[in-house]
Every structure is written in structure tokens, then in C-alpha cells.
């Protein structure tokens, strides 16, 4: 009996091919569907970005942050600030996200020294400080906020589609970047850290540098999500963008989908989106349902839906790990 170690299994080839098909179909979708659905799908893409970025931190580096709304709010704020100076709003979104990514580097220098719960709470504190600082800007005027009105230069339909394609492109690029990172040499280190940080360190893996890169990538991605959310909502009010609800959403999506699984975060985002679409109108019961689901998953399916599926069937749709397969015929 001979064994081969391979990345590309038949399943993962089909998985990647299927993903490409879905993305292609989504890119053409605005021609076929109504404006309400375009808006909703834009929200779905933003959820996928949020879930994937939080998963990258918590699932792979063990960095459980409850202050990621810092980057979400700052991304939206930077966009509105840059656009106010006369820059095209779509360019401002990219510049704003880059600016937040750059800012995340010095932040990581001291935040990553904190461990576990200290890191979680520290991030929350930072998010509150960020919100207070933004409120001091005379353009924002405390809680009054401001609006990204320069977007009005674009016609309603064109703008809706541009934001949709922007969100789709941002989601695809960020997932691809994360995928590439996880497949690289670095990715091996990341997955080693996920499995056991002490053991990985003892084998010469340098967790700090790896964690820092993911921290900055996550900050950039979440800032871009904030900028996209602002583009489709137009109004910026510090209270709603720096709200901890954003991180709560991220945690829910990743927990239910499957923490530390690339596919899990995407599945979680799609599930959350579906539940919200169908049940949000039920008000309080919807919130109770979300909370109960999160509790059930953390108690009985700690690896989430995808984790449970993958453990039982060995399915891996995206070729991230290596597989030992029996090649004897």
C-alpha cells in the first residue's frame, strides 16, 4: 500500500471550482435582481468579511477580541473624513481602510503583549476610547454624526451596484488573501499556533510576527467592512458604528459556523444572514433565539457546524491542509 500527501483532493477541486462559479454568478446578479435584494446581498458580503476576519484572529491565533468594532467604526470614520476633504467617496473607502490597517500596526505592538482575557477587555477599552476620540471631531459633533453625502454624485442605481460589486470584490480579495496566507509557510505556523501555541513556539515558530500580520489584516478587513456599511447606510453616528453588537455578530457567526475553519466563518455568516432575514421581525424572541443558539453551540458543538461536519466526514472544500491518501488501486 502506498500513500501520497496531497493538497488538491477531488473534493477541494470541486469546492474551489464551485466557489468560483458562485462568485461569477454573484458578480452578474445585479442585472437580474431587484434593488432590495442587491442591498441585502451587500449586507451578506459584509457579514462574511466580518466573520472571516474575526475567525482569522480567534480561530487561528487564539486572539479573542471583543473590540473589533474599533476598526469597524474607524473604517467608516476615516472614509467620511477623507471624503469630506474632497476625495471621491469610493477612493476614500479604500484609503480609509488602508489608514486603519496602518494604524493597527502600532496598536498591535502593545495589544499583542496582553494575553487571553486581558487582550479581550483591552480591545473593548480601545474601542471605547476610539469612539470618544471620534466624537471630539468638530465635523462629527458628538453623537450627531455626519453623512457621506458626496456619494450622491453617483446616480442611485449605479451607486447601489458599485457598492455591491465593491463589497463582493472586497470579500473575494480578503478571503483570497487569508487563504493565501493560511497556505503559505506562515500559514503552517498559524495553524500550529492554533493547535498548540507552546508546542509551536518550542519548535521554533515565532508567534508574535505571525499574529501581528493577522491582526493588521483583520483590522484592514473590518475597516473595509465598516466603510462599505457606511456607503450603503450613508449616515454615520458614532454610537451605532462603535457598538459592541458588531463584535457580538462576529462571535455568533464564527461560533455557529465553526471556529478555526476557513469554510466555517462563511457558513456562519450565511446562516446568520438567513436567520436575521427570516426572524428579525419577531423582535425580542429573535434575540433570545440568537443567544440560545450561541449557548447550545458553545456547549455541544464547540467546533461549530462545519467543525462537526468536517470531523465526521473529513470533507475539506478548500485545500488548506495536507491530506494523506491511499493511492493503491
Amino acid at each position: 500500500m502506498t500513500m501520497a500527501v496531497e493538497r488538491w483532493t477531488a473534493q477541494s477541486r470541486a469546492g474551489v471550482g464551485g466557489a468560483a462559479l458562485v462568485l461569477g454568478a454573484l458578480a452578474l446578479a445585479p442585472m437580474l435582481i431587484g434593488p432590495g435584494i442587491v442591498d441585502r446581498l451587500t449586507a451578506l458580503f459584509i457579514y462574511v468579511i466580518l466573520a472571516a476576519m474575526w475567525n482569522a484572529l480567534a480561530g487561528y491565533c487564539g486572539l479573542v477580541s471583543i473590540g473589533q468594532q474599533l476598526f469597524f467604526g474607524l473604517g467608516a470614520y476615516a472614509t467620511i473624513r477623507i471624503a469630506f476633504a474632497g476625495v471621491d467617496p469610493f477612493l476614500a473607502m479604500i484609503l480609509g481602510a488602508v489608514a486603519v490597517g496602518v494604524l493597527a500596526w502600532p496598536v498591535s505592538l502593545f495589544m499583542l503583549r496582553l494575553k487571553g482575557g486581558e487582550f479581550s477587555i483591552g480591545m473593548w477599552v480601545l474601542a471605547s476610547i476610539g469612539q470618544l476620540c471620534v466624537k471630539l471631531d468638530p465635523m462629527i459633533q458628538g453623537e450627531t454624526g455626519s453623512s457621506l453625502i458626496s456619494l450622491n454624485a453617483y446616480g442611485a442605481d449605479l451607486r447601489r451596484n458599485l457598492i455591491y460589486w465593491g463589497a463582493l470584490a472586497a470579500m473575494t480579495c480578503l478571503l483570497a488573501a487569508l487563504f493565501a496566507l493560511l497556505r503559505s509557510r506562515e500559514g503552517l505556523a498559524i495553524q500550529a499556533i492554533r493547535d498548540n501555541e507552546e508546542a509551536a513556539t518550542s519548535l521554533g515558530v515565532r508567534p508574535e510576527r505571525t499574529k501581528r500580520r493577522l491582526f493588521v489584516l483583520a483590522a484592514f478587513g473590518i475597516a473595509l467592512a465598516g466603510a462599505l456599511w457606511l456607503a450603503q447606510a450613508v449616515s454615520f453616528q458614532p454610537k451605532s458604528y462603535f457598538s459592541v453588537q458588531w463584535t457580538a455578530y462576529m462571535i455568533f457567526m464564527v461560533l455557529v459556523g465553526g471556529i478555526g475553519r476557513f469554510e466555517g466563518a462563511i457558513l456562519g455568516a450565511v446562516l446568520f444572514f438567513a436567520v436575521e432575514t427570516f426572524f428579525a421581525a419577531t423582535g425580542v424572541w429573535y434575540l433570545i433565539g440568537l443567544g440560545a443558539t450561541a449557548i447550545v453551540f458553545s456547549l455541544y458543538f464547540p467546533r461549530g457546524l462545519w467543525g462537526a461536519v468536517a470531523a465526521r466526514t473529513g470533507v475539506q472544500l478548500l485545500p488548506l491542509g495536507y491530506r494523506a491518501t491511499n493511492t493503491e488501486t
Binding site: 437580474l32 450613508v234 451605532s240 457580538a248
Partner: protein
């Protein structure tokens, strides 16, 4: 970890529409979810206000007003010889600006509205206006200081108005100045004004805009600086006001902060030296004042509508006093000034529909708004002569909460001055607080 309190936000499509989206994706069927406007279609009006959540005090009367408007429009509206049915799609924003934004987009994309009406606080009005401006849907709003609506949405001072689709009528900083100067001149005081302006949007705007105007009007402002919402100990400020010998007090607090401050002021004897206690934001509605117990008597306020206003509603024909009485009879609750403001929103909106060359043509309706000059339940709404384009300044009338004469409720609000609209009858003289 499950603090998803805003989770109810994103519901914008119903099940059928999602099914439609699946169909559209799968079978490439065209135009699912689109609402096509055709002749014979009703005129659809979106209406957004906060009816639950922390801002519910504003929205509590809206259900009653909506009933009156729907009843008046039952036979439709005849415009240019053609009769249109009118549908009002009302939405509760739950006091959440994120939800307001989603609901506005849902009304525009899936409700097929021809016009939006929005009222009460920037948390409702600004996201609704932004969504309409973005989608090119005419929108009229009220009950937000016009500066917070206009500059708070990114307009630059001195530059031409960036808004093409959204219009707003409400009071502003200058209206407050006129009202306060007229109100305070009624009593002999040493003109020393103790001010408590919080560190929030309203507080900072008032400190920057109103305080200098009052100082120019001959008043000495004693300002201990911004306080944070939720402060529990105000003894420093109270001591400062006492030592300065202030006889007038002005504040823009949220109700719980004012209750805490005012109880401490009473314990420390400040209330005995104050002749005028002029409170904004808290005290718009009777419940805020009742909560203060006996300390609520003779607090001065300012009203954007009152049951003694002389203007009937153009949309429904209801007179001011009848609207207030009708509400009390129907609900058993005391009337509030929001009754008239919401009604005025419908008055102005329906006048614009009547004036438009095509009420279902959005550009024609926006053009009608730009030329609108009508008298509504709160008075004049005039977009031809505002301080900036898209804005009409509405009056705010000085008033005072006094022990109820009829005895049906604890306090009544009575009109004590009318500087910003001389047509409103002044019925009472301002009483000193410490009398």
C-alpha cells in the same frame, strides 16, 4: 456575548421576496422585487418615527394622528382632476438609527413609496433623509433643530445646499434665542444665567451657538463646563451657581440627568434663589415633569406646538384644541406637543402633493417642495425664504408647566410668550419659580 440588542435591524425583506431572489438567481427571471409605478396606482407615503425605545415619548401620539389622517384621506386625494388613493406605510424605528436606515431603504426599494415623512430626533430623521437623498425620493421632516439636520448631514456653511430631495422644517438656535430673551424679560432678575449644557450634540451646539447670543442680549452666563451624561453628583456646579447668585437657570438635559440634578439642587437650596428655570429637551412631554413631583411646578419650557395654536390642520381640517381633546378622549392620556408637529408634517406633505404637477413624479414633487409656502398646524412652512435652501424655520413658543386647573392631570403647559409667532395667543404671565 449576546448583546445583539440591535439584532432586529436588518429585517428588510419578507420570506416571499427572498424566495423571489432565489428564483431570480436560479432562473434569471427579470425584475423580482421591483414595484412598478403605473397610472391608477395609489400615492404611497412612508412615515417614520420612534414609537418604542428610549425616544418613545415622541412617538406615543403618532398612532392617533395616523388614524386621523387615514380617515381624512379615505376618499383619496384629487390632484389635477385625477383622484388618487393614498396609502401610508408607517414604520417604528425603535429609536435606533441603524434600523431607521434599513427601514427607509426598505420603504424605498420594496414599499414603492412616492414620498417620505420623518419626525422626531436626529436618530430617526437624519438616516431617513440620507436614504431618500441617496435614492432620489422626496422627503420632508421635522422636530430636529435644523442645524443638526443640515450641518449634521455634511452640508458646509456658506456653500450651496448639497440636498436635492430632502426638506426640513423645525426650530433652530436663533429661534431659542428669541424665545428665551422674550421669556426672561418678563421677570425682574439680576440677569445672571446658570447654564448646564451636557457634553453631547445638543449641549455643545447650544454652548457654541446660543450662549454667545444670550450674552449679547445682556445676560451674564455662568457656565461650569460640559458635564457627562449619567453624572450622579452635581454639588460643584450647584455651589458655583449659588455663590454667583444666579437667578435664571437654563439646561438641555436628558430626563434622568435633570431629575438627579434638580433633586440635589433642591436639597442644597439652589431652587429658592432661582426665578426662572428654563429647561429644554426634558419637559417637552408631561411625563418628564410629573416625574419630578412637586419640584416640577413652574418649570419654564418651550413648545413647538400647543393646543392653543390658532392654525387648523390642512390635511384633516381638525382644530388644535380638538386634536388635543380627541387624543385625550381616545387614549385617556394627556395631550403632547408632538400631536401637532406630526399633523403638520402631513399637512405640508399633502400640500406639496397637491402643488406638484405630477404627485407620483419624484422630480415634480421635489420641485413642489422647493416652492412650498403654506400654513400648517404648527404655522408657516416656507421653503422659499429659509436661512439655507431646503430648510424652513418653525416657531418655538415660550411656555410654563403649572398646576393643572382642570385637575384631570398633574400639570398643564401654558403659553407665556410668542416672539417667534405673534399669531399664537399668550394666555398666561410667566410665574417666578421660587414664588
Amino acid at each position: 456575548m449576546t448583546k445583539t440588542s440591535k439584532g432586529a435591524n436588518r429585517m428588510t425583506l419578507n420570506r416571499r421576496q427572498i424566495m423571489a431572489s432565489g428564483l431570480a438567481l436560479g432562473t434569471a427571471s427579470l425584475g423580482a422585487g421591483r414595484v412598478l409605478a403605473a397610472d391608477g396606482d395609489p400615492i404611497r407615503i412612508g412615515f417614520m418615527s420612534p414609537r418604542t425605545g428610549p425616544l418613545a415619548g415622541f412617538g406615543v401620539t403618532d398612532g392617533y394622528v395616523l388614524d386621523q389622517v387615514r380617515a381624512a384621506l379615505k376618499g383619496g386625494l384629487t390632484i389635477g382632476g385625477k383622484t388618487y388613493a393614498v396609502e401610508i406605510l408607517d414604520r417604528d424605528t425603535q429609536s435606533d438609527p441603524g434600523l431607521a436606515s434599513q427601514l427607509a431603504k426598505d420603504l424605498i426599494n420594496n414599499g414603492g413609496i412616492d414620498m417620505m415623512l420623518a419626525t422626531s430626533t436626529p436618530e430617526v430623521v437624519n438616516p431617513a433623509s440620507d436614504a431618500c437623498e441617496a435614492a432620489g425620493v422626496p422627503c420632508l421632516s421635522t422636530v430636529v433643530p435644523w442645524e443638526a439636520w443640515y450641518f449634521g448631514r455634511g452640508a458646509k456653511p456658506g456653500a450651496p445646499s448639497p440636498f436635492k430631495w430632502t426638506y426640513h422644517f423645525s426650530f433652530g438656535v436663533d429661534t431659542f434665542k428669541k424665545t428665551y430673551l422674550s421669556q426672561w424679560a418678563q421677570l425682574e432678575t439680576n440677569k445672571k444665567v446658570a447654564v448646564m449644557y451636557p457634553n453631547d450634540a445638543d449641549g455643545n451646539a447650544i454652548r457654541a451657538g446660543l450662549a454667545p447670543l444670550l450674552a449679547a442680549g445682556g445676560y451674564t452666563i455662568v457656565d461650569p463646563g460640559p458635564y457627562e451624561t449619567g453624572t450622579s453628583d452635581y454639588s460643584t456646579q450647584i455651589a458655583m451657581f449659588r455663590d454667583a447668585g444666579c437667578e435664571i437657570f437654563n439646561t438641555f438635559p436628558i430626563p434622568p440627568d435633570f431629575a438627579a440634578f434638580w433633586q440635589q439642587a433642591a436639597q442644597q437650596g439652589l431652587h429658592k434663589q432661582l426665578k426662572i428655570v428654563q429647561v429644554a429637551k426634558t419637559g417637552l412631554f408631561p411625563g418628564d415633569i410629573e416625574a419630578l413631583g412637586s419640584l416640577g411646578a413652574n418649570i419654564a419650557s418651550a413648545d413647538y406646538w400647543h393646543r392653543d395654536f390658532p392654525y387648523p390642520s390642512t390635511a384633516t381640517g381638525i382644530k388644535a384644541a380638538d386634536l388635543a381633546d380627541g387624543y385625550e378622549a381616545a387614549t385617556g392620556m394627556q395631550w403632547t406637543q408632538q400631536l401637532g408637529a406630526t399633523m403638520a408634517l402631513f399637512d405640508a406633505g399633502i400640500e406639496a402633493l397637491k402643488a406638484a404637477s405630477d404627485p407620483k413624479g419624484k422630480a415634480a414633487l421635489a420641485a413642489a417642495y422647493a416652492k412650498l409656502n403654506v400654513v400648517t398646524m404648527v404655522g408657516k412652512v416656507d421653503f422659499t425664504s429659509g436661512p439655507v435652501a431646503n430648510v424652513s424655520v418653525a416657531p418655538i413658543i415660550g411656555s410654563q408647566w403649572v398646576k393643572s386647573e382642570s385637575g384631570k392631570f398633574t400639570y398643564d403647559t401654558v403659553i407665556t410668550e410668542n416672539a417667534t409667532d405673534p399669531n399664537v395667543p399668550v394666555t398666561h404671565k410667566l410665574l417666578p419659580y421660587n414664588a
